[in-house]
Amino acid sequence: MIHQYKNNGYNIVLDVYSGSVHVMDDICYEVTAVLNEQNEEHTEESLSGPGVTALLEKKLGSTYKKEELMEALSDITELVREGKLFTKDAFENMIEVVKERKTVVKALCLHIAHDCNLACKYCFAEEGEYHGRRALMSFEVGKKALDFLIANSGNRRNLEVDFFGGEPLMNWQVVKDLVAYGREQEKLHDKHFRFTVTTNGVLLNDEIQEFINQEMDNVVLSLDGRKEVNDRMRPFRNGKGSYDLIVPKFQRLADSRKQEKYYIRGTFTRQNLDFAEDILHFADLGFKQMSIEPVVGEESDPYAIRKEDLPAIMEEYDRLAKIMIEREKCGKGFNFFHFMIDLDGGPCVAKRLSGCGSGTEYLAVTPWGDLYPCHQFVGREEFLMGNVDDGIVRPRIAEDFRGCSVYSKESCKKCFAKFYCSGGCMANSYNFHGTIHDTYEPGCEMERKRVECAIMIKAALLYDKAE
């Protein structure tokens, strides 16, 4: 399977099953399209058949000379020989192995506080309460969660723990105590904890900043962008905006981490479909690592992304990609999480087939110690898997999540981006279709566009270097 597209003047061909990405001139691009229409799994042999030359002359002979067409065909044949074009799917038979694999728990999302000092309008955690009551995690529950993680992590050395909420800084002493406990336990069990925290910054101060810098592998700072955009969706409970209080603290924290190992992370809604402006606002504030994601909401929510918004969103991603190339070229580059793509050192096939790991490798823990497949399922009783005292008591839920992959979802089968999103977010699927074994189509469309833009940026910067 191949995917061809033109973006920003580049002719790009992605060979889905090898992951190879080619930038072609016009003639080669068109020859590839004609050949693909004829046979999606061309081989060296089939390309040397007598019908191919005649077909190319018939379809493209009025535009290109025969010698030119033969030259392009020769390049294409070389790519096929190297296993980089028209590659057959060699992974479908691996899926049974992936489904049957023994997984270990390697990451926990600790809901350290089901409470929040902001009242963000789009919060899936309902201002921190997650369809339940306000609560803070005790040290005892957190300790049991870390013990559970160590005990269920097998030979996995790197263990991840994200302090999440609600707002984790509202229960900061417990965070500090749990980090200390984790550091003590990792030595005893030959493990390494990678702690991260996601915060709205309201309670951030010098002391907390110092601790974060000492102990946290990554920190996610929530801010939506321009002041008016942020304050519309992220007010305090009294309605006042949070931007003025938070921004200087985030700037200090990002600088103190040398602009690394953090993300300034926002959410965009249908009320700021010009979200590239918010990304650029982050850049103008001095941030280098950033992420903005589409809101997750019910269709009835006034801010939710609707199908009719997609064309504008696609254009905005294209616009952002072009601006990022320009900024990079003049030494003012920044990193946008959703345009990151590692074409050579990216994840292995096993990882791409197994998806995000929710419900198997990644679990969320509530303040009172209940286990859920991920933070977005917390509070939905049908997904309650167990607790930190008894462990997993409903293994069937884990089985269901383990069996969910790009090969189990009908809509992924024909999608070129399946090895980049790995089947998409199961919580999104559940929210819109009542099953984890489906996809959220507007989310898929956005993901496909982001993959296209990410690849185009690589192409543009490579060509720039070559020039």
């Binding site: 070389e78 790519l79 899936f124 050395r157 980049y420 089947g423």
Partner: protein, 47 residues
């Protein structure tokens, strides 16, 4: 090649033999939390 520039040197197939160690980051722990982006992660063995 005159007509083609290939952006990567590795193919997915090359990762089949050495892959699957599971030491890599869980995707939602980075900066998303509301979507799923696996392809932008880096293999732990190549860090």
């Amino acid at each position: 090649m005159k007509h083609v520039k290939t952006l990567n040197t590795q193919t997915l197939n090359n990762t089949v033999k050495k892959g699957g160690c599971g030491e890599c980051q869980t995707s939602c722990q980075s900066a998303c939390k509301t979507s799923c982006t696996v392809g932008n992660q880096t293999c732990e063995q190549k860090r």
